[in-house]
């Protein structure tokens, strides 16, 4: 993992929702920044706790640098350059329009369209897609030596991969816009006929106001579609190159592990090899855990009256540890052998300070056997 974080220019952290992606992304980014590289962590989650941990009052779309005071407090070098930002889907979408619409008038026409306003806020998969657009933008600017991208939370981790295809399908459905044009200027006779029939059906369904907005929208969008395609292609190439490392994050629950197996396989099939798997929140094996520092105090015997309680607790927790271990072993057997694997123990309290993130970053890089 150490080597991955030292070399990768883009680290893509993926996995299903609720496995701790955002926190691990920040910890990984911090670890990268400690190697002396200017690093950006781009999160999707408006996690206030993470912002607090990073010493930033509120994560925003514009990257903010970790303040020196926060670094000092966590006993980290002040020269460390870590920036954090949060994806603002609507804003990225607006910027894409402004940049690529082909002139301010054309851009404004799209931005003012009521249908665009709906689309830019709520378009299915737009968060995923805009993360891709943002990555393209940031990489082009070349300001950061490493970008750690947290992927959007979703019920299914693969959504992120599917998003570009969905958006392309949506743009291709501009065909619908052509059909819906109130005055179809062009077209072969029979197509126009078919179009007319469809238009009447769709108008009946959606009402004519919406149909007008939609068709205006697609007309304005028409010549931007190739640009979208082109950038999606470039990002794809970038993500498939050696500069990018995919990390899959999972918890050791059977369901999360099952999804992770599918995710890793699908990513490989699509030409995005996963470099490492992070098993997060693994129940600690207290028998095997190395002692944490050395206590100066002389060990005192455990109070006899508490011993039954302590034993019950120990047995319960060890049972959890054994179960996690067995689940992970079974998963590892099905994953490609050359993957880097890291186990992060279940913390009693979630990470909420920069020092805690730094500790998590070190755990991420600790050499240990999975």
């Amino acid at each position: 993992m150490k080597q991955i974080l030292r070399e990768a220019r883009i680290v893509l952290v993926c996995g299903k929702g609720g496995v701790g992606k955002t926190t691990l992304s920040a910890a990984a980014a911090l670890q990268v920044a400690r190697t002396g590289r200017r690093t950006l962590v781009c999160t999707i989650d408006p996690a206030r706790r993470l912002a607090n941990a990073l010493g930033i009052s509120k994560l925003a779309d514009a990257p903010r640098r970790l303040p020196a005071a926060a670094l000092r407090k966590a006993k980290l070098p002040e020269t460390l350059e870590l920036y954090a930002s949060m994806l603002d889907t609507k804003r990225v979408f607006d910027e894409v329009i402004q940049r690529h619409a082909g002139g301010p008038d054309a851009a404004q026409r799209i931005l003012d369209n009521p249908f665009y306003q709906l689309v830019s806020n709520y378009l299915t998969g737009s968060q995923e897609y805009m993360a891709v657009e943002r990555l393209h933008q940031l990489h082009d600017e070349g300001k950061y030596e490493c970008i750690v991208l947290d992927t959007p939370p979703s019920r299914h981790a693969l959504d992120f991969l599917e998003a570009p295809r969905r958006i392309t399908e949506f743009l291709e459905s501009g065909f619908l816009g052509w059909i819906l044009r109130p005055t179809a200027e062009t077209g072969i006779g029979f197509l126009r006929g078919a179009g007319r029939k469809l238009i009447s059906v769709v108008t009946k369904l959606l009402g004519s106001d919406l149909v007008h907005q939609v068709s205006d929208f697609f007309r304005a969008f028409e010549h931007m579609a190739p640009g979208f395609d082109e950038r999606a292609k470039q990002v794809r190439e970038l993500l498939q190159s050696d500069a990018t490392a995919f990390l899959a994050v999972t918890t050791p629950t059977p369901r999360a592990l099952a999804e992770t197996r599918i995710l890793v396989r699908r990513l490989h099939e699509s030409g995005f090899p996963v470099r490492g798997v992070v098993f997060n929140r693994v129940a600690c094996d207290w028998e095997a855990a190395p002692p944490r520092g050395r206590s100066r105090e002389k060990p005192t015997p455990l109070p006899a009256e508490l011993r039954p309680l302590l034993t019950t607790n120990f047995q319960q927790l060890q049972a959890l540890a054994r179960r996690d271990r067995a689940e992970i072993e079974a998963t590892l057997a099905e994953l490609p052998p050359n993957l880097v694997r890291v186990l992060i123990p279940d913390h009693a309290v979630e990470v909420r300070t920069l020092a805690g993130l730094a500790r998590l970053g070190r755990q991420l890089c600790a050499v240990g056997k999975a």
Partner: protein, 313 residues
């Protein structure tokens, strides 16, 4: 005299929308609620929203699809997908199935529909409403099911889902609006629809539940009928935190460190439970985490048992 259980109240509704952060156990809670619904005499439809086989797998019916099938006495189940919901929606609106199916399979329309804002969510919500509402016209009479338990998307996506009908009534005119108004009235009527929020005692899951509950109340106006706290470590050390030494030797060290871990976890949980009690509306139920290795059926049985007991945090 026994107070009315939060579940009795819950089951007087027609539509239960179960949501929460990813990975908190929504599907398990949905299945348990459906089974309990049957036990209180309801004919239940358990409907997943694009769970991509998860619901079917947990029910031991991997082939479960969009058509409701009987999975137990009194319970039908289905896993709704947008494509089928769209087809049914078009069939309902266009009356003639052949035309509806041709529109639904038109590539341009399908592409538009897949990505268009709120439309997917709208037809899925519409489908759930259709199954839960009273039948009208010549089929008039009671609803198809007494109770529809919806295993809804994770809270981030669920807002889009709940908002779907509002979005249409807010920005659209025309035929869609009439139906959307009906759906909106249904999901915002506390006597008909309730949200069941599931969370684990973890900071992020609790945050998300609190934010979702806030959004549900305003601007959406959907009533929270029950909060389920899932996976709570059973309390062991309530009274015993005082007498522990700071260190130990030999095999006692592992015992001590395991206890220290458990105590911090329990303290953190207690803090989050207080926060849930303070910040989330509605009756609340705590489900303890199972500590023995278990399979899906055992988890389900345990959740069902604990829900039935319905103790408060």
């Amino acid at each position: 005299m026994a107070l009315p259980s939060p579940l009795t109240d819950l089951f007087s509704r027609r539509l239960l929308i179960v949501s929460g952060k990813g990975g908190v156990g929504k599907t398990t809670v949905s299945i348990a609620l459906a089974r309990l619904g049957v036990r209180s005499g309801k004919r239940v439809l358990l409907a997943g929203i694009e769970t991509q086989g998860e619901l079917g797998r947990l029910l031991g019916r991997p082939e479960l699809g969009a058509e409701p099938v009987k999975v137990a006495a009194g319970v039908q189940a289905c896993d709704l997908d947008a494509k089928t919901a769209l087809r049914d929606f078009l069939r309902l609106r266009l009356k003639i199935h052949a035309i509806a199916d041709r529109v639904a399979s038109n590539r341009a329309f399908a592409g538009f529909f897949t990505a268009a804002p709120g439309l997917r969510e709208y037809v899925l919500l519409g489908k759930a409403w259709y199954e839960a509402r009273d039948r009208s016209g010549w089929l008039s009479g009671g609803p198809r099911h007494d109770l529809v338990v919806l295993d809804a998307p994770a809270s981030g996506h669920a807002t889009a889902f709940l908002r779907a009908a509002h979005q249409i009534t807010d920005v659209m005119v025309g035929p869609l609006r009439t139906q959307a108004t009906e759906i909106r009235a249904f999901v915002t009527d506390p006597a008909l629809t309730a949200l069941v929020l599931v969370a684990t005692p973890e900071e992020l899951a609790v945050n998300e539940a609190v934010e979702f509950a806030r959004a549900a109340r305003r601007p959406l106006g959907v009533h929270v009928g029950l909060v389920v706290l899932n996976g709570v470590f059973p309390r062991l050390f309530e009274r015993a935190t005082g007498g522990l030494p700071d260190s130990a030797s030999g095999p006692d060290l592992a015992l001590l460190r395991a206890a220290q871990f458990r105590i911090s976890r329990e303290t953190e949980q207690a803090r989050l439970l207080r926060r849930v009690r303070r910040s989330l509306p509605g009756p609340q139920i705590v489900l303890e985490r199972l500590l023995e290795p278990e399979d899906d059926d055992e988890v389900l049985a345990a959740v069902e048992r604990e829900l039935a007991e319905a103790h408060r945090p």
